[in-house]
Every structure is written in C-alpha cells, then in structure tokens.
Symmetry: C2
DNA sequence: CCGTTTTCTTGAATGAGTCAAGTTCAGCCA
DNA sequence: TGGCTGAACTTGACTCATTCAAGAAAACGG
C-alpha cells in the first residue's frame, strides 16, 4: 500500500494536480482492487466526508486516462477499477458471486496475439476474461452432485 | 443465410414457440452479425412493421438463453448479438470505428485455459477480446506518420 | 498573494435495459 | 375446426450507471 506522498508523486508525474479527492480515490482503489464506482464513492466519503459522485467519476476518468488506474468492465457488471497497471494482466470472474481476481498470463510472451493480423486488423492488445467459479462457490457446488461444465469453451 | 423453415426448426428444437418476432430477430441477427439491440429493432420493424422494443429484448434474451444467439458486450459498447454459437470464437474490435470481426483462436486446443486453476478458481471458459485497427482505419492512420503502439500489450 | 485554469459541486438529463399489468396469440386437445 | 391455457407481446412507467452543463472553489505558476 503506497503512502500519500507516493500517490502525490504519481499524480505529479502524470501532470495532474494533487487534490484531496484524487488522493482519496487512488487510496480507495489501491485498498479495494476491482471495486465499482459506487463502492469507491463510499470509501472516498468515509475518508473525506462529502464528495460529489461527479467528482469521483471525473477523477476515475482522469486517472484512467493518465494510466494510473485501469478500468475493467466485465459483461453484466458495471465499471470497475484497479491500480495494477502496465502489465495487461487478465481477470477471472466468478459466475456465481461475481468476485474478480487477477490472472497472470501463464503461457509465453504474447500467446493470444500469435496470429496478429486477423482479417487485416492490426491488433495491439488482447484482453482475456476467464469465467468460472471462485474457491468458495465451487466448493459449495462441486461437493454436491454434478459439475455442470458449460458448452465447448475453447480459448 | 438459413431459410425461415430452418429458423422455425431451430426454435422448435429449443422448445420455443414459433412467433413472427422470433423469426424476424433470428433473421436480423443472421443478416447483421454483431448488431446492437437498437439496430436489430430497426431491422425487425422493417420486416414486420410495429414491434415493441420490449418484445425484441425478450426475444433476444430467450434466444440467447436457449443458445441460439450469443450476446457480446465489448467495454464501451452496448450489447451486441451474433448467430454464430457453440464454438466460443473470439472478436476483434476496431478502436477507431468500433467495427467487430470474428476471430478463430489460432493457437492449439485451449491455450488461454492452460493454467486452468488460477487462485483456486475452476475456470470453464476463456473469452478473448482483441483491440486494434480495422483495415480501413489502419490504412488511414499508419500511412501517415507513427504507428503509435500502445503500452505493453502481452496476451 | 493573485490570477488563471483546472477541478469540484449541484442538479438535471440521457439512454440502455428492466418491471409490471393487461392483451393477444401459439399450440395442444377434444 | 374451435376452445383453452400458458407463453409471448404491448404499453407505459421506471431504474440506475453514467454524462452534461453552469457556476463555485481550489491548485499552482508567477
């Protein structure tokens, strides 16, 4: 968990003014990875008192644009934010409870980009989203009867 | 492009009643892969005349649940639907114009699932979304000066 | 410390998608 | 072929994440 001074440095390094809402948002996202906007608003308000939701939306956008935060948006979920940036890691989403965890790409360098020119597209990024069951939910489910494995799920 | 009779067979095979809105939606999605709901509503209305948006939403949900359609939801876009189901292929999205194309996974069997048990999650599906520029947009862009390749984009 | 520009506040608006109550119609059965 | 029943469609209101806009406050260079 970085210190406030480090957050301040991050902001200045990105040519962003240092404000209390921005520090609080950075703090909140670091403390609660994959939190949605509403949760972040809550945490920020615990920290600072009254802060408009618009301010938090603005800050999240500014920090995301500056590359200090990363926005993820799993289908069926509202936008979520995390502070781990720059490595383009991936995510697992639990189908049951919706919890999200980080996943490093286990395969070599750029496996999912192997055929880098599909249909004439120039591809610069591959985003992988894994779906499954988290440890809690899978233990509740699989210990009963069937492990219903959905359709063909090739990568 | 399947015939109406084939769409009817598809619906009956899925234990769904055959209705004009459902046939029209199937037709529309087959004719316009990756179309959003609003576009589909428009196409269906060209075909049938007045149809409520609610009906189209209901039909899209029913057909998706039945596995006759697949819903995709790229970040920053509304929901889109396609009729190619059962093979879990992937998609490329153009950062510039937003056009979407299908991508078969070029690598072996289930590459993105290679480490199938991250953080104790039981993973059953890997969804890959490629970002880049479509042929049209990349020719307009790259012929000028720099091919600004975004940050580290490992798969 | 002052002025400029960015950021924050306030309050309204947007728009995809959902909910709910009532009507219509597909498909089963006589 | 005609009626029955539940599913599907219509209508209209509603939700809720997110954005827009105008004015007030605050950051920071000079």
């Amino acid at each position: 968990m970085p210190t406030t001074a480090e957050f301040e440095r991050l902001l200045r390094g990105a040519d962003l003014r240092v404000t209390r809402p921005r520090l609080a948002v950075l703090d909140a996202v670091h403390a609660h990875p994959h939190a949605d906007t509403d949760t972040i608003i809550g945490v920020v308000r615990e920290d600072l008192g009254a802060v408009s939701h618009q301010a938090v939306y603005d800050v999240l956008r500014a920090l995301t644009t500056a590359g200090l935060l990363r926005r993820i948006e799993p289908p069926g979920s509202v936008a979520r934010y995390e502070a781990r940036v720059g490595d383009n890691h991936h995510h697992v989403v639990c189908r049951s409870c919706g919890v999200i965890a980080d996943v490093d790409c286990a395969v070599g360098a750029a496996p999912c980009l192997s055929a880098s020119d599909h249909h004439g597209f120039v591809i610069d990024e591959a985003e992988v989203l894994y779906w499954g069951l988290c440890p809690d939910c899978s233990s509740t489910t699989t210990t009963s009867t069937t492990t219903s494995s959905r359709k063909d799920s090739r990568g």
